[in-house]
């Protein structure tokens, strides 16, 4: 009797569970930072406590100014998540409006909007971000606006494609036949069909936004001191990779774990909500 091995299918749920744990921990760290963090992230240590290796006092060591790395790590979650979520929500809102307008509107509007989308997609995102950052002075708000402004194009394309496919369905024709206005059809029948796509796409883009923010802060073009950001922490540890390896290592791990959490969450939601596979990347 021949029996094929069964793939361990429980893993799919495992991925989603891991994702929920990771993202919840990140969110909790950001919200409860003042309570959770061991002390003030900006408090300078005495001369002896500068660049101290991980110990029972400073679990993750201190930086060259004697500030506790763990405390800074927990506070740094605030900037990462705030920038990640706000910029992605802005991009989603913008992309959904443009994508739906292109998919449902007259052909000329579609052409114009897609030409605009193509135009902005012709810049590698980081170049566009840097160009916009270079003409203004760095701030948290600016970073969120710039990441939102440079993130909507791929969403618009995705939403447009999905809208076009939904538009072909018979139930949309049936709804028109019932005398619904185009706006009613869009609101009652198209938008609900888009939700799974939008939710999955948003989740998968949070990681990319967080990474871009951290790179900007690493370059000194993002969030400025005294606000703590993981990218800035890595920048501080860049020159002391051997003597103070903990300064750059831990914020990188925090970034990676957070981004893994959102990527896993996006994948898990996709399996749950959207039977069709979408394309690969979120680094756009």
């Amino acid at each position: 009797m021949a029996v094929e091995p069964v793939g361990s299918l429980n893993r799919t749920d495992g991925g989603l569970r891991t994702a929920l744990v990771l993202t919840t921990v990140g969110l909790a760290a950001a919200l409860l930072a003042p309570v959770l963090a061991p002390g003030d992230p900006s408090a300078l240590g005495e001369a002896g406590a500068r660049l101290a290796a991980p110990s029972s006092v400073h679990w993750l060591g201190t930086d060259p100014l004697g500030r506790d790395v763990l405390a800074r790590l927990i506070h740094g979650a605030r900037v990462s998540l705030l920038v990640g979520w706000v910029s992605v929500l802005a991009a989603m809102l913008c992309g959904t409006v443009v994508g739906m307008a292109a998919g449902l509107g007259p052909r000329r509007l579609d052409r114009a909007l897609m030409a605009l989308t193509d135009l902005f997609m012709s810049f590698p995102r980081i170049f566009l971000v840097l160009l916009l950052v270079s003409v203004s002075s760095p701030s948290l708000l600016l970073i969120m606006v710039v990441l939102g402004l440079t993130g909507w194009m791929s969403v618009a394309r995705l939403v447009r494609a999905e809208t076009l496919s939904l538009k072909q369905r018979d139930y949309i024709a049936a709804a028109r036949g019932l005398g619904l206005t185009p706006l009613q059809v869009a609101w009652r029948h198209i938008l609900p069909g888009l939700w799974p796509t939008i939710i999955v796409a948003a989740t998968l883009r949070v990681g990319g936004a967080i990474l871009t923010e951290s790179f900007l802060s690493y370059l000194g073009l993002g969030v400025q001191e005294p606000t703590v950001s993981w990218g800035g922490m890595i920048q501080m540890g860049r020159g002391i990779l051997l003597d103070g390896w903990w300064v750059a290592t831990f914020p990188g791990i925090a970034l990676a774990v957070t981004v893994i959490g959102y990527n896993l969450l996006g994948d898990g939601l996709r399996r749950r909500l959207d039977p069709r596979r979408q394309g690969g990347g979120q680094h756009d």
Partner: protein, 334 residues
């Protein structure tokens, strides 16, 4: 085909022109005089006037735009404020290193991606699939600049195997041509690996999805039912069809690659376009920023044009016209 090609090329050129206009507009229409972002109170009036000339800030905005665009079309991007020499020279020096880095990283990433996709797709749910997915996800989620730093920490500072940055050793000018090439390769290993490792999982996942779709098609079932050996089914039937999504990906990869190269170049001090751009941004050297942004945009447009061209060549459905009206086409609906 030819009229299509002409139209496509014309569209691409138009897009590059519009793109240059957008860059000009962003820099010139941003709130505040670009001059004010560059100078402080101590800059003398004479110097201010000089910078104004260098930036091409004389005359009306339309005149400035016309002057700049004419220059761009002739390959003249003006003078760098920081280095006091033509931007075109600076960029020309940077193109080679970036090409070397991106091309080698792209080749490595493709090799890794195709291998990983084949392994995952032919062994779904097995340990190899799970491991690759896990490792790939981790590499995919790690910040590229941090991964580079970790590599420097491990392979350069701690183990001392590879150089930490730059493109050549200090004594390179005294080496023979063969030794100099080896020296460059030696410097290339870490940046290339950082770029390729960070990028390959995105491609692998995309390819895996395409392969899974293809392997579930009726024609694969039909080929297997004809007793065609599995290896042949994979190579002749599945991979040949996966070539089409791969070509699409080629066009899409250019922006990712150039963006990734910028990150890696900054970390490793690789003297390419990305590093030039960042240094220009730190120095608010607008002529250079505008030049590199326009050029990367143009590279992306050309990449997608090339991918379109390849796609039409590779897909028989687009390459050949129908032979005639097909009677009783199957509908698939019933």
């Amino acid at each position: 085909m030819l009229p299509w090609l002409a139209r496509r090329l014309f569209q691409s050129l138009l897009l590059i022109l519009v793109l240059a206009t957008v860059v000009f507009a962003v820099v010139r229409l941003a709130p505040g005089d670009p001059l004010n972002r560059m100078v402080d109170d101590e800059t003398g009036a004479a110097d201010q006037a000089l910078i104004r000339t260098r930036l091409g800030l004389e005359g009306s905005l339309v005149q400035q735009y016309g002057r700049w665009l004419r220059g761009v079309l002739q390959g003249d991007f003006g003078l760098s404020l920081r280095q006091q020499r033509p931007v075109a020279d600076i960029v020309a020096e940077a193109v080679g290193p970036t090409l070397l880095l991106t091309a080698s990283a792209y080749a490595l990433h493709l090799l890794l991606a195709v291998t990983a996709a084949l392994i995952m797709s032919t062994r779904p749910g097995r340990p190899a699939d799970h491991w690759l997915q896990g490792v790939g996800l981790a590499l995919y989620s790690v910040p590229g600049f941090w991964l580079g730093l970790m590599f420097i920490m491990l392979f350069s500072r701690y183990l001392g195997w590879l150089p930490a940055g730059g493109m050549a050793s200090p004594d390179a000018p005294f080496m023979g041509p063969g030794a100099r090439a080896l020296d460059v390769l030696h410097h290339l290993v870490l940046p290339m690996a950082t770029l390729a490792l960070g990028a390959f999982m995105g491609t692998a996942r995309y390819l895996r999805a395409a392969l899974d779709d293809i392997l579930a098609q009726d024609y694969i079932l039909a080929a297997r039912a004809r007793g065609i050996p599995e290896r042949r089914v994979l190579v002749h039937h599945a991979l040949r069809n996966a070539l089409l999504p791969l070509i699409t990906l080629l066009g899409l990869s250019v922006p990712f690659l150039l963006g990734g190269a910028l990150v890696v170049e900054v970390v490793f001090g690789w003297p390419g376009m990305g590093r030039v751009t960042i240094e220009a941004i730190w120095a608010r050297d607008y002529p250079v920023i505008m030049a590199t942004t326009v050029l990367t945009g143009a590279a992306v447009v050309l990449g997608s044009t090339l991918a379109d061209l390849l796609y039409r060549w590779a897909d028989p459905r687009l390459r050949l016209p129908d032979l005639g009206p097909a009677e009783g086409r199957s509908t698939g609906g019933r």
